[in-house]
Amino acid sequence: MKKMIQPAYIQLQATATSQQGVFQTIADIAVANGIASSQEAIVEGLKAREKESTTGFQEGFAIPHTQAEEVSQPAIIIVRTETGVDWESFDGKPTFFFLSLLIPKSEAGTTHLQALSALSRALINEDIRQAMLRATTSTELATIISQAISGEDD
């Protein structure tokens, strides 16, 4: 099983300033790394989910996610924007830290989904959020998230 989070899946100084821009950045990374076959499908999928209700969390975090046929392997893509984007988050603060979850449509096994739910649980944890905010390199951030996924898996 290929790892769900890799340094290549992370972009720390993204220039996007709008929701559309953030989704496009996520889609670019997904297609460039062979996670998904179509940028358009990813952008549309994320948008559709956002329409149901915001994925914005608090303190600048959001977890846009989608399940699409065009996704070939489950992955966590992280985009950190230079400027905050309005995401209708719980605390009303602009969002800049996007943890995007991409899941293949045919994902029948439960292993990946459990990892993703573990990540969601980890986000509630203040310490892990702080560690993610402090991370300065992609490698460092990837390690924190890998640990969060496996460590929470009980």
Binding site: I63, I103, A108, T110, L113, S120, A122, I124, N125
Partner: protein, 467 residues
Amino acid sequence: MKKKIVAATGCPTGIAHTFMAAEALQKAAEKLGVEIKVETHGQVGIENALTAQEIKEADGVIIAADKDVQADRFHGKPLIDVSVAKGIKEPEHLIEQILQGKAPVYYAADYDGAKQETDQESTTKGNNSKWVHTVYKHLMNGVSHMLPFVVGGGVLIAISFLFGIYSADPDHEQYNEFAALLKEVGGLGFSLMVPILAAFIAESIAKRPGMVVGFIGGLLASQGGAGFLGGILAGFIAGYIIILLQKLLKGLPRSLDGLKSIFLYPVLGIFLIGIIMKPIIIPVTGLNEGLMDFLASVQSTNPLLLGLIVGAMCGFDMGGPFNKAAYVTGTMLLAEGNLYFMAGVSAACIAPPLIIAFATVIFPKYFTKEERNAGAVNFILGSTHITEGAIPFAAKNPIVVLPIIMLGSSIAAILTYLFKVQVPAPHGGFLVLPVVTGAFQWVLAILIGSLVGAFIYGFSRKKAAQK
């Protein structure tokens, strides 16, 4: 003693927020020194499921979900129902509300049903009551999913009859393209009623894999003519087929989990339900034909007995094999020029939905809002000879409701035979009144039967609610 709280979280995609809310509630509970158990309704299904015992012992319930988390089981508990976002955002506030006793006590939509459960629990003990409760829960899941199909399909069919009884028949002068369309789509919705019932009984037992098998079982039952009783049977068989398969396939390595749900369960499950249902359906069909011969012979000898039999048959399974046997016999005799037999059948088919409709109007206090709405629709369905409208009510508690409906139908049929009413149309309910000989007596017979049934049904609900 530590306070105990149970919670359920869920969101439409079931990937992220469900678990964030669960975690947030657990963290908050820890901080406030409260014991909590959180059930998650995620993409992989229900995890960390709450048991009846845990719910019973809990001081309160928190639902943080944007999807159905089967709230019925929390009947009678202090409950807070909020969106999944609130669960993530202000978990401490939610828990404090329960601790301070600010949460209102929750009454499930199926108030009466929940009451009956407790009745049953008090009379039977231990495992037995648990078993009854479980069966009831599965049945209700099927019924609540079936209801919109019955109402949607039934009302469209009824509207098509307004254009004329034969308006959907291209060879008839009444033919109207729009009416034919209404009847076609309505009929399609209607024809899915039994498969949906079976599918969601099975879904309640064995989640998604069960639903697939239940749907096929329900289709077999409805196409084979085994009606809604056959559908209930198919749903339970399908659900337990999957439970059995899950036990048998337990030994397989975890890496095959994906293969199980996408391949093994559906393939083996559908195969097994086919093998099991086919032989069950054949005797039911045989029964059908035997009944038809029998009915035709009774008419000449004893009209009172005939009314009783026809009423009981039409009311017993409403659209199922017994009802259809009486109905088909009626149409065949109609073709032979016997207009009396059909009059009783029609009366007995019209009465069941009217019994329900009158009961919800006369005893509104003992029905939920949802039931009262469905009851009002039953006026239309009954008036147009669509017996199936009563099924959702009967399926909730067949042992009590079916005899009442059979009695009401029998009274309507017996009076119809005594009044010597003649009905020349095989369907359409009160829309065919202009062509009925003895129309006034016929309506009177049906009203008497329906009202008697409605009062008994209403009093039974009242009694159940007072306990």
